[in-house]
Symmetry: C2
Subunit: 442 residues, 2 copies
């Protein structure tokens, strides 16, 4: 059973929303945008002022689509119904992919202090267009044991994806720039997978690029999001006294792709002293044990999963348990602002599976150095707290807003490109020094 | 003979600099940075305040290297000496590639109003490092008829390039991030060509990407500069009364690469009524004729040269002569801010060489539409005026400063990348809809 996100008392005033449609027990107080408010430019202007405090022309203006409700609240409804609990309190279910909820709720807030973007209710005023489909929740509406809605209709995520894009392709502002100035959240590596080629121009908010082709997504065009941490933050001080075990890992031993390394790591590490390594799947009990382990270990292992990213990294960060990342192709959130070498240890897979390598290397790190890592972790922790008013949500919008000049360039450029004989795709790139080749890219 | 840039009276106060070194007749009043000012952090802070008015932490801070003088003033000295006029007034010679002079002079100014970057004199405080080598002038120090300095030493641009990078590679801040946070101006398409692979991490200020490989430069990493216009701006009003001829072109008929189209265009257009098309090379007389032609024509042709860009486009813009661009692979300056379809007409090469196509298409454009193009040209003209205090120089710094988040991301990312088995270069890209292929990029 998935953990629910229980709203903290301090957030109730911010996040209480009214979902004003039939059939719901609702207790939320801000109405979602409706056609009537959309057509009132004065309300748009006044909201702009409310939102940004000082809405200079240079603030990035975001329009959130008033999607048919089946793409937002309706996904939650379907999720609850598929679990036979349609009358359960109406809440977005707790998952590691809840960014879609936080961003949606944030844009609905009347007062949005220190946000790098301002919401506008008139699309004519917008720089960017946010599409608030709950694409990650939609993937898991149907429990693993296929269920139905009782009325014979089985929820189909694939149909939802197609319908969303069919709907968008009828929108004036989508067509205008072929989606280049649109923003989608697809935090689960499989979210929106059926329609990726139709939305590849847009800014995609993703967890990694493991399942995306180089012409669909990249950190130049898109934004890497952190997963929501699933275990509680460690609120104690820095130090190693309460952290008796050297290295902790708990998670699925068997994974596909890069995650195949996990089984090898288990074999090497399960006999080691000072190392706690356990096979475990998502459950309330395993989360309790993981919390305990991450709060009492010096280092926390983060091997690749089915894709290079996994929520465990963010659990480790908020636990002040120094992450040991064994995932050669990982991309990390907010890397312009965060120097991850100050908060984590990176080990290439080939070295990590040498018997004795990890424990000997980690055992050689002084207590002083560990405490220094913890201090740095404390300083960047807010970036990984979706609940923090100065946390993940504002940082995501900052990242999105920094894409605007490039988006505008691409839009203007595409308007004037003429028919050309191209021998390779028309792409503009930035390359690292770690390229294996110095030959032509394409 | 190349035209000199004569400082306008309004700019004298801004650009009068003192080049305080031996052997020069100098009349410029701001000393270049010296080792003594570099070691005084308080002067750096006070300069920061002077420069930006309100130097928030978010202002991008640029350190300009105090290069050995042979790379800056020394290039001008060599240029004058190679022409047998070592005692001529000490001025940067007028060329279409004078951005290197304007940026250097700008950073030397004591008061830099509205600049998007602040100069710092302490490299420890810098976000970015500007390398003010006059790389384009260095290319043309030796006149076409090989000359020497009278003492048997022939100036070698290639040696200068190598010496510059040898010097840089001994600098702490170059080594720190392998040049990723450095900025070079190489406006001539051949500037710095010998050392491109050693500086490809840096932000390159270029005219186009015609001679650069995709892993050396791109509009994601680099900035496209306008050439300095070489003919006078048209200061009259919009309108077609004084513009009797339909289409004007004057320039070299014979060019390499994409410029081969020029000869075909000559053949097609030289018999057309209302079209003035002339073969001409750089001279004072041809500039006079070009000024006359561009100020009295409705449209000005811009065919590709040896590379996709050419200064003629910017001459046309400041002449309010609507540019007709026939250069399939052109990249344009400041395209996030300028929608070029509002100020220019783009024609693919294949269509342009169909007899009658250009004149018939242009002849069909109404006077009203032409005047509308001219109004738009007037609005963006300042972007192409290096002399304007709110013009090209500030805009170049704005473009450079917008690269900073990506530069920081690349720097942080490279620190933590581990050894990996890569089957293709490690590049992150953004692709246009005009790609000929949808397959894998690499």
């Amino acid at each position: 059973m998935a953990k629910k996100i229980y709203l903290k008392p301090t957030l109730v005033t911010v996040l209480t929303l009214v979902a004003l449609y039939a059939g719901f027990t609702v207790f939320l107080s801000h109405p979602p945008p409706s056609v009537s408010t959309l057509s009132d430019p004065s309300s748009s202007r006044s909201l702009s002022i409310l939102n940004s405090g000082d809405p200079k022309k240079t603030t990035v203006r975001v329009y959130m689509y008033d999607l048919p409700k089946r793409f937002t609240y309706g996904v939650i409804e379907s999720y609850l119904r598929a679990r036979g609990t349609p009358n359960a309190p109406f809440r977005y279910p707790g998952t590691q992919h809840s960014a879609e909820w936080w961003l949606f709720a944030d844009l609905l807030r009347e007062v949005r202090l220190n946000s790098p973007v301002v919401r506008v209710l008139d699309p004519k005023e917008a720089d960017l267009f946010y599409v608030p489909f709950f694409s990650s929740l939609s993937l898991v509406v149907n429990p693993i044991r296929a269920s139905n809605f009782g009325n014979g209709h089985v929820y189909s995520d694939e149909e939802m994806q197609q319908e969303l894009i069919d709907w968008l392709e009828n929108q004036e502002y989508w067509e205008r720039n072929k989606g280049r100035d649109h923003v989608f959240v697809c935090q689960d590596p499989n979210a929106l997978y059926r329609v990726l080629d139709r939305i590849k121009n847009a800014v995609l908010l993703v967890s990694d690029f493991g399942r995306l082709r180089a012409d669909q997504a990249s950190f130049v065009k898109d934004v890497v999001l952190p997963y929501s941490h699933r275990i509680n933050s460690f609120n104690g001080d820095v130090g190693v006294e309460g952290r008796k075990s050297l290295l902790f890992f708990m998670g699925n031993r068997y994974r596909k792709e890069g995650g195949k390394i996990r089984d090898t790591l288990f074999q090497i590490l399960e006999e080691e002293e000072d190392v706690i390594i356990k096979h475990g799947t998502q459950s309330r009990e395993s989360r309790r044990m993981a919390t305990q382990g991450m709060h009492t270990s010096k280092f926390c292992l983060h091997p690749a999963g089915d894709t290079p990213s996994a929520c465990r990294l963010f659990d480790a960060i908020v636990s002040l348990c120094v992450p040991v990342i064994v995932s050669d192709f990982i991309e990390l959130p907010f890397e312009d602002a965060i120097d991850y070498t100050k908060i984590a240890i990176f080990v290439d897979s080939a070295s990590a599976i040498q018997p004795g390598y990890l424990t000997s290397m980690l055992g050689g790190i002084s207590e002083e150095a560990i405490v220094q890592y913890q201090r740095e972790l404390k300083m960047v922790k807010r970036y990984f707290e979706y609940e923090d008013v100065n946390g993940t949500v504002n940082e995501i919008w900052r990242q999105v807003s920094m894409k605007l000049p490039q988006i505008k360039l691409m839009i203007n450029r595409e308007k004037r490109l003429v028919k050309r004989n191209m021998t390779s795709p028309d792409c503009s790139c930035v390359c690292s020094n770690h390229s294996s080749s110095v030959g032509p890219l394409f």
